[in-house]
Symmetry: C2
Subunit: 346 residues, 2 copies
DNA sequence: TCATAAATTGTGCTCGAACACAGTAATGCG
DNA sequence: CGCATTACTGTGTTCGAGCACAATTTATGA
């Protein structure tokens, strides 16, 4: 039963004062070589761990964290992020963490850049952000790096070398969707549907598509068609209806983001409930169609947990000097009508 | 931008000394009625939150926690618990938490009681336990309650009123299994297989069975048979082989605990790979058959997370006086061959 | 009225780490 | 040798909450 050593204990053991121990621990110099060696050896021998509580008692500075996030009013997918952020803040309420949140329009790169400027003006110690637009995010992240500001990104990955990332392996999540689809459909055509403003900037949707296709490529003797359809958000309904009309043999549809409910709505109104549907995220409309049986599976990207972990990593680095993992992959949760409920609670 | 108030600030605001504030906060009496009211009002107005760091600095006692857990050497299901426990301990390494672990044989109620006695002798402040055997656990829990020792149970629930519980809704997890099975099987017979020493004491397996059946009961016009088969652990293979022979129309099997790999092994060797198989837990053998396609889905009960949360709740109650939730339900994770990997990492 | 008890309030120390600053010993240089 | 400079070491205060105890005010009774 090992005792917990304090600086005072070590000072006594080494026959010096606690000031000297402190100088050794923090390499602040002004210590005789032989004493330093002796103390260092002692510290190693007893595996000294400083009391983080006492350390932070003195360190009562106010930490400023900036958050650059998509506006949930523009896309409900982002709504739950604030829950995760609140959870992290309350968990570390013992410390004085000030969070400045800047919400940008997820359909507008200009809005992203504008709010980035505002964020910079707020002089944050660290930054939490969703790098939604590849090109702009890369520029911004390089800017932060030059300023030596630690950044945590989540939801989609830009560049492993430039900022810490929390999220799912999107390629693999495409494979999960494919596996699910494969297990529930009979023979027939399958379609991948992308519903968004700008497909080209949305690397995450392309990754999911690649993963989805790779699964079927790996199957021996699988030759059915995988169709592809890109739809801009504003023209969703008409385009979708045309697409369904053009492909009467469809038996399965994979929607690569949280917009599966648009497809579900149409399938229901056109009595095409036999078409299997796999999509993403627990938006209330998606959950509704999941419970109704129109959507068969949803993959949960858990933006709430992503935001929570991102903020937690930043705070733990600030107050405990913990390392921030370069990449933290969340599990890919499979949701059906029976297990959805516990995932909805905050 | 609200300031963080300390006891000193409040003392100044109220025009009294910090000692008086402290007496009011802790209801230690010896405060004039009018002063007490005034200070209480002030505390409420500014929503005073004590600095937990400073509070615990003084409170440097050693906390003893006892753990009564199944021996992982007897059942690999329990192996990952120690990871979760280690994680909780390292997260709270700033506090002096001593954990005494007592491992009992999960097939032997006598072993459970013996180790319970040993646990009591160690004079724990709090207890973490897996109440594997209903009758014995109930006795033991009442004993702890009489001694006023806080207990966290996980994996299976005994009695909501008697101890805190962390785990899955087992009835609902049976329904999840049923929904999965329903989505992947064609017409044909289904079987629920229980593989364990003592079925009667294993309420959790009965709950899963009830949930599974209830799903199909809710379906209109579903009339196929749901067979049932209880197998003792020692006689698994022969009994299983007979059962398969007796029911040649089987298309789906649901195994109610982590022993699905026994069935998978047999299905593979008898070339009955077309029979769909749904089971529980990410034991390495299960994962192997999942990747091979013999097992279609596994439900992840996440014993690692259960143990982690249980210990975390206990510690947070000890050091932060946080409330322990009476019941904490974990999500019911659906696992297939494509999303299993991230769930395996510690 | 005054002594004394009772009620109320203030002061000062503790926890462990961090750090400023005071204090002491060793060395250099004229 | 003596004084200054460097090299090293020890002391004391701070952070916020908690608590023991001292100090003060108020009430009570002879």
């Amino acid at each position: 039963m090992m005792k917990k050593y304090t600086i005072k204990d070590i000072a006594q053991l080494a026959g010096v004062s606690k000031g000297t121990i402190d100088r050794v621990i923090h390499n602040r110099g002004n210590v005789a070589k032989d004493v330093e060696d002796k103390v260092k050896q002692l510290l190693a021998d007893i595996d000294y761990q400083p009391n983080l509580i006492a350390r932070n008692l003195k360190n009562n500075r106010i930490y400023q964290i900036g958050a650059l996030l998509p506006d949930p009013k523009k896309d409900a997918y982002w709504e739950v992020c604030s829950d995760g952020i609140q959870q992290a803040l309350s968990e570390f309420s013992a410390f004085d963490i000030r969070l400045n949140t800047f919400l940008f329009d997820p359909t507008d790169t200009k809005s992203f850049m504008e709010h980035h400027e505002l964020l910079l003006d707020s002089a944050p110690d660290m930054i939490l952000m969703v790098p939604l637009f590849y090109k702009e995010a890369k520029t911004v992240l390089e800017h932060y790096k030059a300023l030596n500001i630690q950044v945590c990104t989540f939801n989609n990955q830009i560049d492993a070398s430039i900022a810490s990332f929390i999220g799912q392996d999107l390629y693999q999540s495409g494979r999960v969707a494919a596996k699910l689809m494969h297990s529930i459909i009979d023979k027939g055509d399958m379609a991948i549907i992308h519903i968004d403003e700008k497909y080209k900037n949305a690397v995450h949707m392309q990754e999911k598509e690649k993963g989805f296709k790779s699964y079927f490529d790996d199957l021996d003797g699988f030759t059915d068609d995988i169709l592809k359809c890109k739809i801009r958000y504003t023209e969703t309904e008409d385009k979708l209806r045309d697409f369904l009309k053009d492909h009467p043999n469809l038996t399965g549809i994979f929607v690569t983001n949280s917009k599966a409910f648009h497809v579900a709505r149409l399938l229901e109104s056109e009595n095409k409930g036999h078409i299997k549907l796999v999509g993403y995220d627990l938006l209330s409309e998606n959950v509704h169609y999941l419970k109704d049986g129109v959507i068969d599976f949803l993959i949960h990207q858990n933006p709430r947990q992503q935001a929570y972990l991102g903020l937690k990593f930043l705070i733990e680095n600030l107050v405990f000097e913990k390392d921030i993992p370069g990449k933290h992959l969340l599990p890919i949760d499979i949701i059906n009508s029976e297990n959805v409920t516990p995932f909805l609670r905050a």
